[in-house]
C-alpha cells in the first residue's frame, strides 16, 4: 500500500519537528560546553558566580544570534528579489498573467492564510524558490525558463510546492538554523585553534548540527512535495515537473549557495544529490529526484516509463501541428510564401483581403473568399483602433501597432516590418519557442551571420569611417546606438538607453532562430 500524501505529510512533520528541537538543543549544549570550559576556573572557585557569568555570556550570544537572524531575514524577500534580478510579473504578458492566476488559485486552495507575491527571473534556467521574511513578505520566485516550458498543471504544482514551504514555516526555520550555526561557526573555529582540545567536543557538535540541518532540509523537500499534492491533488504533474527539471539546466551560479536549500531542485547538479548511500544521505541538501518522483508516482499509481512516454508525447504536441490546414499566400513581389497557419497569416504585415491565397491544391482565391481568413480581417478592424500606439516607426514615421508575439506584446510597423521590443521582453521572447522557423528564415539567418562576420572584421579595420544613419527611439526620442546583439549572435540591432530595441524586418525572427539552433558565428580568426 503506497503512502498517501496525508501519511507522508504527517510522518515528515513529526520527524522535522523532533529533529529541529534536537538541532536547537545541540546548539545550546555546545555553547554551554564552551562556557564551562572557558570559565572553568571561576566554576571551580565559586560555582554560583560561574553560573552567573556563563548565563550573561549565553544571553549575549543569544542576542547576537537574534540580531543576525533579524538582519538576515528582515526585508529579506525584497533584498533577494533585487539580488536575483527578479521582477514582478507583467500582467500584459500571457504567461505571466497565467502565473498570477495560478498564484491566486493556490491562495484559494490554502484558504488565503498568507499573502504571497511572486516574481520572475528572466533566465533560461528552470528553478523556483520561496522566501519568507519577518516583514511579512512571502515571495515565490520562478525562472522564465520554468514558466515557459511547463504546462499549466505543472507550473501549479511548482507554485504549490513553494507555497507549502512558506506556509509550513520551512523558510523561516531554515533561516533560523543558518543564523544560529552560520554565525557562531567562525568563532568556534577560532577558539578551537587557540583554545586547544577542550573545545573539540563543541566543534564536533556544531559539525553534527550542520549534518542534521541538511537532513531536515531533505525531509522538508519530501514534505513540501506531499503538501503540494494536498493542494493540487495532482501528484502526476509534480512528478512530471521533477522529471523534466532533472533533465534540464537548473541555473548553476544564478542563485547563491545559501539559497540552494530553498530551491525546488538543487541548482548545482550535484553527484551527491542523485546518488544514494550513507555519505550521499549525509551530505546532500536535496533528496534524489528519483526518490521524490517515485514517492509521487506511487501516489498516482503510475510508473516512470509512463512519464517518459507522456513527455515525448507532449514534446511532439509542442511541435507545430502538421494536420492543421496550411495556406500559401502571394506576396508583393509575386512570390508564393508559406505554408502558414491561420494565426501566422494574421501576423503577416502584407496580408490583406486582396492577397491571393491557396491551400496547396489547384484552386486559388482571394483571401476575402475564405471564411477563416475573413475572420482575421474582421478581428483586425475591431482591434485596429485598440492596437495603434503613439509610438512612431523610426524608419517610416508611421504609427506602430501593438502586436501579440510569443505570448507577449511587441510594437510592429505595418509598412517596413520593423519591430520595437522592450528590454525586459526580449529575454522572454528568446526563451519561448512557440514559433517554428520556416526554411527561409533559417537560410537568411545563416547568410546574415556570415555576412556580418566578414563585415565586422572589415569594420573594425577601418573603424569609424562607415556612415551609419542613427535612428531615434520611438519611446524616448533619444538616438539609438547601433550594435550587434552579441558577438556570438551577430544581428545588428538599435539599442536605446531606455532599454528598448529596434529590429529591422525579420531580424527578430533571425535572432531567435540563431539562438534556438545554436548558429553561433564561426571562429573569427578563421577568416
Amino acid at each position: 500500500m503506497p503512502l498517501t500524501f496525508i501519511d507522508v505529510e504527517q510522518q515528515k512533520s513529526w520527524k522535522i519537528g523532533l529533529f529541529f528541537i534536537i538541532l536547537l538543543l545541540m546548539y545550546f549544549t555546545s555553547t554551554m560546553v564552551i562556557m564551562l570550559v572557558a570559565f572553568g576556573d571561576i566554576f571551580a572557585k565559586d560555582f554560583l558566580r560561574g553560573v552567573f557569568a556563563s548565563f550573561y555570556i549565553f544571553i549575549i550570544a543569544a542576542v547576537f544570534a537574534f540580531v543576525h537572524f533579524y538582519l538576515l531575514s528582515y526585508g529579506a524577500a525584497q533584498t533577494i528579489k533585487k539580488n536575483l534580478g527578479a521582477a514582478d510579473p507583467d500582467p500584459e504578458d500571457e504567461l505571466h498573467k497565467r502565473l498570477m492566476n495560478i498564484m491566486a488559485e493556490i491562495q484559494v486552495a490554502t484558504g488565503k492564510k498568507r499573502k504571497m507575491a511572486c516574481a520572475v527571473i528572466s533566465s533560461q534556467a528552470m528553478n523556483a524558490l520561496a522566501v519568507d521574511d519577518f516583514k511579512g513578505d512571502a515571495l515565490i520566485v520562478i525562472t522564465e525558463g520554468l514558466i515557459s516550458r511547463l504546462s499549466r498543471d505543472q507550473t501549479e504544482a511548482v507554485v504549490a510546492h513553494e507555497a507549502y514551504h512558506i506556509l509550513s514555516g520551512d523558510c523561516r526555520e531554515s533561516t533560523l538554523a543558518v543564523s544560529l550555526f552560520g554565525f557562531s561557526m567562525p568563532f568556534i573555529e577560532k577558539i578551537m585553534i587557540y583554545g586547544g582540545r577542550a573545545y573539540i567536543f563543541s566543534f564536533i557538535l556544531f559539525k553534527l548540527g550542520y549534518l542534521l540541518n541538511l537532513f531536515i532540509s531533505r525531509e522538508r523537500e519530501y514534505r513540501a512535495d506531499a503538501g503540494a499534492v494536498r493542494m493540487t491533488r495532482n501528484p502526476l504533474a509534480l512528478a512530471e515537473t521533477l522529471h523534466l527539471l532533472s533533465k534540464n539546466w537548473r541555473g548553476t551560479g544564478l542563485i547563491g549557495s545559501e539559497l540552494e536549500g530553498v530551491c525546488i531542485v538543487n541548482p548545482r547538479l550535484d553527484q551527491l544529490d542523485e546518488s544514494e548511500g550513507f555519505f550521499a544521505d549525509l551530505f546532500s541538501s536535496h533528496p534524489p529526484i528519483r526518490k521524490r518522483t517515485e514517492m509521487l508516482l506511487a501516489m498516482a499509481h503510475a510508473s516512470i516509463t509512463e512519464l517518459d512516454v507522456k513527455r515525448r508525447q507532449s514534446e511532439r504536441e509542442h511541435m507545430p501541428k502538421e494536420t492543421e490546414k496550411k495556406y500559401y499566400a502571394l506576396d508583393a513581389h509575386y512570390v508564393w510564401q508559406g505554408p502558414f497557419s491561420i494565426p501566422e497569416l494574421a501576423a503577416l504585415p502584407w496580408f490583406s483581403t486582396l492577397t491571393w491565397v491557396g491551400d496547396g491544391s489547384e484552386t486559388i482565391t482571394k483571401a476575402s473568399q475564405i471564411p477563416a481568413c475573413s475572420e482575421i480581417f474582421k478581428a483586425q478592424i475591431e482591434q485596429a483602433e485598440r492596437k495603434t500606439t503613439d509610438y512612431l516607426c523610426p524608419v517610416c514615421q508611421q504609427h506602430l501597432l501593438k502586436q501579440h508575439y510569443e505570448q507577449t506584446r511587441i510594437y510592429q510597423c505595418k509598412y517596413c516590418g520593423g519591430t520595437l521590443v522592450d528590454g525586459d521582453k526580449l529575454p522572454r521572447i528568446i526563451i519561448r519557442r512557440e514559433n517554428a522557423w520556416p526554411e527561409k528564415i533559417r537560410l537568411q539567418a545563416r547568410a546574415t551571420l556570415k555576412e556580418n562576420q566578414q563585415n565586422y572584421i572589415i569594420h573594425s579595420a577601418k573603424a569609424g569611417k562607415n556612415k551609419i544613419i542613427f535612428l531615434r527611439c520611438p519611446k524616448c526620442k533619444a538616438i539609438m546606438w547601433r550594435t550587434f546583439y552579441s558577438y556570438a549572435y551577430l544581428i545588428e540591432i538599435d539599442r536605446c538607453i531606455c532599454g528598448a530595441m529596434w529590429f529591422d524586418k525579420d531580424e527578430l525572427s533571425m535572432l531567435q532562430c540563431m539562438i534556438e539552433n545554436k548558429m553561433a558565428g564561426e571562429k573569427l580568426g578563421a577568416n
Binding site: E94, N101, A104, I106, V108, A109, G111, R233, N234, M299
Partner: protein
C-alpha cells in the same frame, strides 16, 4: 487525597471540554467561510460568461446549440438560490456546458488569433480551477469538522451541547463519477 484526585479529574474534563468546544466552533466558522469562498468564485464565473459568449458568438455560428446550453445553464445557476442541492446541480450543469464549449472552440483556430478570447479563456480556466480548489478546501474542512464531531467521546459532547449540525459535502458532478480518472488525483475541470 481522594477529593484532590476527583477535583483534578473534573478540571481535566473541563479543560478538555473547553478545548473541544473551541476547536469545533472555529472549524464551524472555517467551514462557513470556505463556503463563502466558493460563492465568490462562482460569482466570478457568472460574470465572465456573458463576455465570452458575446465575443465568440459571431465566429461560432454553427455551434449555436452549444452556446445556447452555456447561456441557459448560466441563467439557471444565477437564479438558483434556495437549497444547496439545487445550487450544486445547477453549477455542475454549467461546468459541463462550459467544458463542451471549450472542446468545440479547439476546432476554430481563428479564435486563437483573437487576444480577447485568449484572455477570457485563461480567466475562465483560472476561475474553474479556483472553484475546484475552493470546493476542495470546503470538502476537506467539512471532513475535518465531521470527524471532530463523530469521534468518541466528542460525539457525546456534541449531542449534549447541540448547535453543531453536520455540514454537507459539495459533491462532484455526475460526469466525473461515471468515469473515474486512472490516478487517485481528483482532477479539476478546465485545466490543460
Amino acid at each position: 487525597m481522594v477529593e484532590l484526585i476527583v477535583l483534578g479529574c473534573i478540571g481535566v474534563i473541563i479543560a478538555w471540554g473547553i478545548v473541544t468546544f473551541n476547536r469545533l466552533v472555529s472549524l464551524r466558522n472555517e467551514v462557513q467561510n470556505s463556503w463563502k469562498q466558493i460563492d465568490v468564485q462562482l460569482k466570478r464565473r457568472h460574470d465572465l460568461i456573458p463576455n465570452l459568449v458575446s465575443v465568440i458568438k459571431g465566429t461560432m455560428e454553427f455551434e449555436q446549440d452549444t452556446l445556447e446550453k452555456v447561456i441557459n445553464a448560466r441563467a439557471k445557476a444565477v437564479s438558483a438560490c434556495c437549497s444547496l442541492q439545487e445550487k450544486v446541480t445547477a453549477e455542475n450543469m454549467l461546468t459541463q456546458a462550459l467544458g463542451k464549449l471549450f472542446a468545440v472552440m479547439e476546432n476554430y483556430p481563428q479564435l486563437r488569433s483573437n487576444d480577447n478570447i485568449m484572455q477570457l479563456q485563461e480567466e475562465l480556466t483560472s476561475t474553474e480551477n479556483r472553484i475546484g480548489f475552493a470546493r476542495q478546501l470546503y470538502n476537506d474542512l467539512v471532513a475535518q469538522y465531521r470527524i471532530k464531531q463523530e469521534v468518541f467521546p466528542n460525539n457525546i459532547f456534541v449531542a449534549f451541547f447541540g448547535g453543531f449540525k453536520k455540514e454537507v459535502y459539495f459533491e462532484a458532478e455526475e460526469e466525473a463519477k461515471k468515469a473515474p480518472p486512472a490516478d487517485i488525483s481528483i482532477r479539476r475541470n478546465g485545466s490543460h
